[in-house]
Amino acid sequence: MGLQKSEIMLVLAAAAITLLSFVIPDWLAFTTTLAIASALVVLGVVLLMRAGLVSFGQGLYYCIGGYAVGMGGRFLGINDALLLIAMGVVVTVALAMLLGLLLTRYREIFFAMLTLAFSMILYGILVKSQNLGSTDGFGVSDWTLLWFDPDGGKGSKTVLWLATAVGLVVALFLNRYFGSAIGLACEAIRENEVRVEYMGMSRRQILYINYVIAAAIGSIGGSLTSLAAGHVDPTMAYWTISGEFVFIALLGGTGHVAASFIAAMIFIMVRTYAVELFPNSWQMILGIVLLLIILFLPKGIWSLFTRRRRVGS
């Protein structure tokens, strides 16, 4: 079972980023880390999109991942980065298994609205919690990575390596997943659910598994973001952040795992430059870019780089 061609490219890309990290300026390392972390959450959205569901509430798990890192460090005294990420995943999976039972009954708009509702409920709970700083949030304490102490934890290079490594593992896993029986069944569900059921597969089970996996990687993305930024706050659960993830998912398309990473990087760069060059109208620029993408590249940027021969029907 060798690596496919695209998987080799992923590994090479990860290696390239790691090597480049020694020479690129600090702010670019930070931006790349944020892009990788966002891409992980976006992959969760893509996972659900392939099954025909759009989630406007991935912010819920993104926020849980972030707060797990923050609270683990501040209240439980845990300092190891991997352990903190694992904590976030555990809490997230527990919650997702519960919510998934409810949410997989719904489709389309209702699914989107319910996921939005739950992430806003978490937002409300956090805003109410004065000892967690309410809307101010709180800072992430210094962290270590296994035996390695990256100078108080805010060192950009270490978190970039961590993000790259984690990102690579997740990307490879998802690439296999997309090609597996379950992954292909997802696309079938998007096309026609009832037929899938007739073929003997339980669509609820498939959607449920999808939902839990999407939640888990969303949480990892949130943990990485807070490790890099050094701060957590309830905005992470606000619906507009989830909207951004959906935006990026559309930008990249559902074609390949790499698309999400590229799209996340493009989005962050476009946004930074829009803010810098048009401080008074950057939202408009983003909206226009999004519209253009939807109009001209409905399958996302990835469709520019693949060429699928379609067989005559």
Binding site: I24, P25, D26, W27, L28, F30, T31, L34, V127, K128, Q130, G133, S134, T135, D136, G137, F138, G139, G152, K154, T225, A229, G230, H231, D233, T235, M236, I241, I266, I268, M269, V270, T272, Y273, V275, E276, P279, N280, W282, Q283, F296, L297, I301, L304, F305, R309, R310, V311, G312, S313
Partner: protein, 440 residues
């Protein structure tokens, strides 16, 4: 459904080429760093240019920066700031929108310092942003002045700061001052209610205020506190709930459009005939309330800013220049930005540096310093010399169609009266009865 037609294929080729070029050039642009000449001092200004906080706070601050920087570069400020530029260097500014949340602001701060190569950063209205950026400022060793954010936790999160300063006051000072004013001016009030926006600022303000009131006016009965969502705008139900509790005093830390809407609605519903409102950020509405706020409404300006500025050369110049440029007298956020810029000029001029002062030189100069500002003398006396210590003022709003708005019965409370001494936790200090406070 066969192969792609030639036109479609050409279009795809064009699009993919264009995208690739765009990506590569974006990457190249990204790697390159903005340069700036060695005879200018570049300052990053971060304030709200979009969203609900832009109208009352962000844009007035940005406008004040424009006016003051222009004057600094031309050497038009009154003494002791009459030299042109900062330390002889022309002041150049880069303005960044504070919207987007703390994580985004951390990213933008890093971009300002490393990509735009600014020599200093002034900004931050939102407490969340201050708390997130503070540690990063220390990490990146860049001189940073927080000019407006009101969280009392800033120097708890950033212990032993070197590069981070705050030239404004925090919510503790606002609310302890409010309690003192009520104690002096409304001693016979019995029932107290509040309405705060439901987020950190509102929650902290109400907590600090009620703790202070328990010390100063223990007989007051707290009958209600409403916590509408921020930017809710429509307070019909909250006003009804307040009316049923029949308060004498209503405390509010609401700001901007929410504050104005609440005042108008409460006024029309008659709530403000029954109760007197005390608005901790009310000064930003001084020139906007007209007859909507009843006479006698108590306003605060988070210190000696805006309408509470004392009479001195700097404030006189600033009021005139700001009004000439922007058509309205400056409100407190504008004054606070002016103060931060004056602090920067003070630090640069007195740093003893040749050419561009380093962040270390600026920080060493400003630490524990006293400098002249539109608000009088600013004493950087708290948090080891990094936090300003200034008096807190409140006054009554009066309006007539002929004479316009004015503030009467203004009382000032010394900095040492409303802020805890260095190193003491604010809530503990209040609960213990303000030990060490000097209120005379």
């Amino acid at each position: 459904m066969g192969h792609i037609t030639p036109q479609a294929g050409l279009r795809r080729k064009l699009l993919s080429t264009a995208t690739s070029i765009a990506l590569v050039s974006a990457g190249a642009m990204g790697i390159s760093q903005a340069t700036h000449a060695a005879d200018t001092f570049k300052v990053g200004l971060v304030t709200f240019l979009s969203g609900g906080a832009s109208g009352p706070f962000g844009v007035p601050a940005a406008q004040a920066a424009e006016t003051v920087i222009k004057a600094i570069n031309a050497g038009e400020l009154p003494a002791p700031y009459d030299s042109a530029g900062v330390n002889g260097l022309q002041l150049e500014s880069v303005v960044i929108d504070e919207a987007g949340g703390p994580t985004k602001q951390v990213e933008e701060y890093r971009n300002l310092v490393q990509r735009q190569n600014v020599n200093a950063v002034i900004g931050y209205i939102s407490s969340g942003d201050c708390l997130a950026v503070g540690p990063v400022a220390e990490e990146m060793e860049t001189f940073t002045i927080a000019f407006d954010c009101g969280t009392p936790r800033l120097f708890e999160e950033v212990e032993n700061p070197t590069y981070l300063f705050r030239t404004g006051l925090d919510a503790v000072a606002d609310n302890v001052g409010a309690a003192h004013y009520l104690n002096d001016a409304k001693a016979d009030a019995e029932r107290l209610a509040g309405i705060q926006q439901n987020y950190a600022w509102g929650q902290d303000s109400w907590l600090d205020f009620t703790l202070a009131m328990e010390q100063l006016m223990p007989d007051m009965e707290i009958v209600d506190n409403q916590t509408p969502q921020i930017f809710q705008g429509n307070y019909g139900t909250e006003i009804s709930a307040l009316q049923t509790s029949r308060p004498d005093i209503i405390h509010s830390s609401m700001w901007g459009g929410d504050m104005e809407a609440f005042v108008a609605q409460a006024s029309v519903r008659g709530l403000l005939d029954q109760a007197t409102a005390i608005l901790t950020t009310g000064e930003s509405g001084l020139h906007r309330f007209k007859d909507q706020a009843p006479n006698g409404t108590i306003l605060g300006g988070r210190g000696p800013f805006g309408g509470f500025m004392p009479d001195n050369d700097l404030s006189a110049w600033f009021s005139k220049a700001y009004e000439a440029d922007h058509g309205t007298p400056p409100s407190y956020p504008a004054s606070k930005m002016a103060q931060a810029l004056l602090g920067l000029k003070y630090a640069a001029d007195n740093s003893g540096a040749e050419g561009i002062p380093t962040s270390e030189q600026l920080a060493a100069t400003l630490k524990g310093a006293s400098f002249e500002s539109v608000s009088g003398t600013v004493d950087m006396g708290l948090a080891g010399g990094h936090q300003a210590l200034q008096p807190m003022l409140y006054g009554e709003y009066h309006y007539s169609a002929d004479t316009g708005p004015e503030l009467r019965n203004v009382r000032a409370y010394k900095g040492e009266c409303v802020s805890p001494p260095d190193g003491k936790d604010a809530q503990e200090w209040i609960k213990a009865g303000f030990p060490g406070a000097d209120c005379n």
